[in-house]
């Protein structure tokens, strides 16, 4: 955590998500309590299928819980209408997905500006903001490239820029380096480190300890529940990258 004053931006209490019935009942998320402060970077780790992604979707209002509460910026989001959830996702949350999820027919800058256009910004303002963000993630020279012409790391940087488009309260990243090679992973790590430095609240779901090591706090998840919490000192990606062998 970067600041001393602890303000919860995201809060979950008794959060549960169940699928199926009777013998087939599966608890993907099982009684999670969690508070994430402003500017904090939190990593959630665990093996595949432990419920990390489901938890992230619940925190970001992409999915509705079976029980429990989720609050974003002090406001409950588990019992609001679909329309209000959509509005909240538009302004308060940015998502970064493992498989990038870029629109194949849109250029990098068109992908990034899409969130701003959905939020009702003028086309000019949306384009200006998108170009700024692409410059910030190091893709100033590739704004007119289609996703198919970009490398995996570059695509993920476009996705990060898109997530930041509407200056969200929190960025939720689901295995952001899961589909990347080492060099691209380093790029993205650096980007998240920059976001952390700038005070952006981040929740990163990963099963990669190298990514988790960049966080302020790290939660371990097993069978849908948070079983362990570790406070980390944090560190720059550069130093960490060298430490964990991502750099020569």
């Amino acid at each position: 955590m970067s600041g001393s004053a602890y303000t919860p931006v995201l809060r979950a209490h008794g959060l549960r998500k169940e699928y199926g019935k009777g013998d087939g009942l599966v608890r993907a998320v099982d009684g999670v309590d969690l508070e994430i402060g402003e500017g904090e970077t939190v990593a959630i780790m665990g093996p595949s299928g432990c419920g990390k992604s489901t938890l992230l979707h619940l925190l970001g209002g992409l999915d509705r819980p079976s029980a429990g509460e989720v609050s974003l910026n002090g406001r409950r989001i588990d019992d609001v209408s679909e329309k209000d959830l959509a509005r909240m996702r538009r302004t308060d949350v940015g998502f970064v997905f493992q498989s990038f999820h870029l629109m194949e027919e849109l250029t990098a800058v068109e992908n990034v500006e899409l969130s701003a256009l959905l939020a009702g910004r003028s086309p000019r303002a949306a384009r200006r903001r998108a170009e700024e963000l692409l410059e910030r993630v190091g893709l100033a020279g590739r704004t007119r490239f289609l996703p198919s012409a970009l490398s995996g790391g570059q695509r993920q940087r476009v996705a990060v820029a898109r997530a930041l488009s509407n200056e969200p309260k929190v960025v939720l990243a689901d295995e952001p380096t899961g589909n990347l090679d080492s060099a691209a992973t380093l790029d993205v790590l650096q980007l998240f480190e920059d976001l952390h430095e700038s005070g952006q609240t981040l929740v990163i779901v990963t099963h990669d300890p190298r990514i988790a090591a960049t966080a302020d706090r790290m939660f371990s998840m097993r069978d849908g529940a948070l079983v362990d919490e570790t406070r980390l000192t944090g560190g720059t990606t550069g130093g960490l990258g060298a430490l964990i062998g991502l750099e020569d």
């Binding site: 979707h57 999915d63 679909e82 997905f97 027919e105």
Partner: protein, 602 residues
């Protein structure tokens, strides 16, 4: 070879059974076209039955001859090949009045005794007697005249003693002209020469009564039987002269089935429109289905299937459907044909299902296969060419990028922004949607014109009330099939778009678009092409189709009342509203799918 054939058939049948709804839609679409085409091809044969029954019951003539004097007709009776005759009988033009209504008629003077050739068959009452008139059945029906009713001919009183049918002339109002002054069907205009009989009916009197009507202007008619009735037209061609008018029984049959001919033309054009609609609908359905079958194609190739085999399997599915649709269409069309023929009071007996001819079977099969192959060939070849690795990876065909539309859409409200982008991703599908609506609206435009024509001036087309009813039935069948197929197309196109845009829609929702915005966009993506299709369907579509029908039928478009601007505007707006309503359900269903489910499955 046989093993490969079996494999292709087995895979095709299994896949069709796995997707029953789509298979049923495919079958319905092709069947609509094959049924209409069959109807168009067999209708005339079906309509000919009542005339043949009447000809048999009345000892109908093979040739009917008319002249200003009896002498040339008596000469015809002596020619080689003529085996029997009746007449010459005198014919007079007269004004017929009954129940306050007036019409021109041709009155034929007959003997009280039965004739060996053309003895009209009574459907009511008795044969001619002095001061007793027998009225042709279709004319009696149109005028509401029954046995015992008092009528006047040129002001002289008669009693209706009988109602009869004859094969010597087509039933009212399609009858031929026997009088010297000539006849006209339809309304008189300023250019029409005076003295013509307008839509004349036919009555029979005694010869004495006819001669008393207008003794100075009589014409004569005789009925001839030939040794070979099939030679009637040759006989007519050989003995036609300036003063003698001859008509073969085949020509009377043509006149008697004129309505069926008009219905046939309408049905054939309807069949083409439905065929085109089927191609448009099938192309979308097949295209969407191919996207789903990507992985299956990869598996086939991975186990050694050649591109040819892959294409054959895909084509075989649709060829099978086409064959089924052909069989169903041929059966349904043949059975329905009698329902669309006139049950005219002017002829005896009812139409029956016509025999199936080889040419009909071949043509209907060819059209069904043509529709199936036209809709399938592009996706099948594309699937055959795709690399095995790409197919196994199940990567969908990348969407098209239309930069100008993407830039333009950025300035639009969110639902329209998304709608334009959804449409721009698959331009071919949009074009098929536009085509589908344009064809439908063109058809409706023509229906409006024909309906207005039948309402305002049926006699101009030579139609009586019963015939108008039949044509309306044909138009109704047309409308129902056209609208059904267009509705199926609209739903299929929307659903295929929804499936194709699952990922884009889920992503858009993850970025903050509400389900309503996404479903509105999905529906709007269909409504915008529908608007373009509706406008194009009116102009040039409707105008061109109507002009084509006039060219084929030799009709006079000047007599038709074209739809008023408000009707056209209503047609366009109604089309857009109906498409919006039809697409709303699949669009909403698509937007209900959870975002996470879609994104995780990608």
């Amino acid at each position: 070879m046989i093993g490969r054939l079996l494999l292709v058939c087995r895979l095709a049948v299994r896949d069709l059974r796995r997707r029953r709804t789509e298979t049923a839609l495919l079958l319905l679409a092709v069947m609509a076209a094959t049924t209409t085409l069959t109807l168009g091809l067999v209708l005339r044969d079906a309509a000919g039955d009542p005339y043949r029954s009447t000809r048999e019951a009345t000892h109908g003539p093979d040739v009917i001859a008319g002249a200003g004097r009896p002498a040339p007709l008596s000469d015809l009776q002596k020619l080689a090949g003529v085996t029997d005759h009746s007449g010459p009988y005198p014919v007079a033009a007269a004004k017929f009045q009954a129940s306050g209504r007036t019409s021109d008629v041709q009155a034929v003077g007959r003997d009280s005794a039965a004739a060996s050739v053309d003895q009209p068959a009574l459907t009511e009452g008795s044969w001619v007697s002095d001061d007793g008139v027998v009225v042709e059945a279709a004319f009696a029906g149109a005028f509401g005249v029954r046995v015992g009713d008092p009528v006047t001919l040129d002001g002289r009183s008669f009693e209706v003693v009988g109602v009869a049918v004859s094969a010597a002339m087509a039933p009212y109002p399609s009858g031929s002209c026997l009088v010297a002054q000539g006849c006209i069907n339809g309304p008189m205009s300023a250019d029409t020469p005076e003295g013509l009989l307008q839509n004349p009916g036919l009555v029979w009197l005694t010869q004495k009564d006819v001669r008393s009507l207008d003794p100075d202007h009589l014409t004569y008619v005789t009925n001839l039987k030939l040794a070979d009735p099939d030679d009637a037209q040759t006989f007519v061609d050989a003995h036609r002269s300036g003063g003698t008018r001859l008509q073969s029984w085949q020509s009377v049959l043509e006149d008697a089935t004129e309505l069926a001919k008009d219905s046939q033309i309408l049905l054939m054009i309807g069949a083409w429109l439905l065929g085109l609609l089927a191609v448009a609908g099938l192309s979308v359905l097949v295209g969407g289905r191919m996207a789903d079958q990507h992985r299956r194609v990869g598996l086939l190739k991975a186990v050694g299937g050649t591109p040819g085999l892959v294409a054959a399997v895909l084509l075989a599915e649709y060829v099978l459907v086409a064959v089924l649709a052909t069989a169903a269409g041929l059966t349904a069309g043949t059975l329905a044909a009698p329902l669309l023929t006139e049950s005219s009071a002017g002829l005896l007996g009812a139409a029956s299902p016509p025999p199936m001819t080889l040419s009909t079977i071949v043509l209907v099969t060819a059209v069904a296969l043509g529709v199936a192959v036209a809709a399938t060939i592009v996706p099948a070849v594309r699937a055959a060419r795709v690399s095995t690795v790409a197919a196994l990876a199940d990567s969908p065909r990348p969407p098209r990028r239309v930069g100008s539309l993407i830039a333009l859409s950025a300035r639009l409200p969110v639902p329209l922004l998304l709608a334009v982008r959804v449409a721009a991703r698959r331009p071919r599908r949009v074009a098929l949607g536009v085509l589908s609506i344009a064809i439908t609206v063109s058809g409706i435009y023509v229906l409006l014109v024909l309906n207005a024509f039948l309402t305002s001036q049926p006699l101009a087309g030579g139609y009586g009330d019963a015939q108008v009813e039949v044509l309306r039935r044909v138009l109704l069948a047309w409308t129902v099939l056209l609208l059904s197929l267009a509705a199926i197309n609209a739903v299929v196109i929307t659903w295929t778009t929804v499936l194709d845009n699952r990922h884009a829609s889920a992503l858009t929702r993850a970025l903050g678009a509400s389900p309503r915005q996404v479903s509105t966009a999905m529906a709007a993506a269909q409504v915008l092409p529908a608007l373009a299709g509706a406008v194009l369907g009116v102009f040039p579509g409707g105008f061109a189709l109507f002009a084509a029908i006039n060219t084929i039928t030799g009709g006079d478009s000047g007599r038709a009342t074209l739809p008023a601007p408000w009707q056209l505007l209503t047609l366009v707006l109604a089309t857009v509203l109906v498409v919006a309503a039809l697409t709303a359900v699949p669009a909403r269903l698509g937007a209900r799918r959870p975002v996470t489910e879609t994104l995780q499955g990608w």
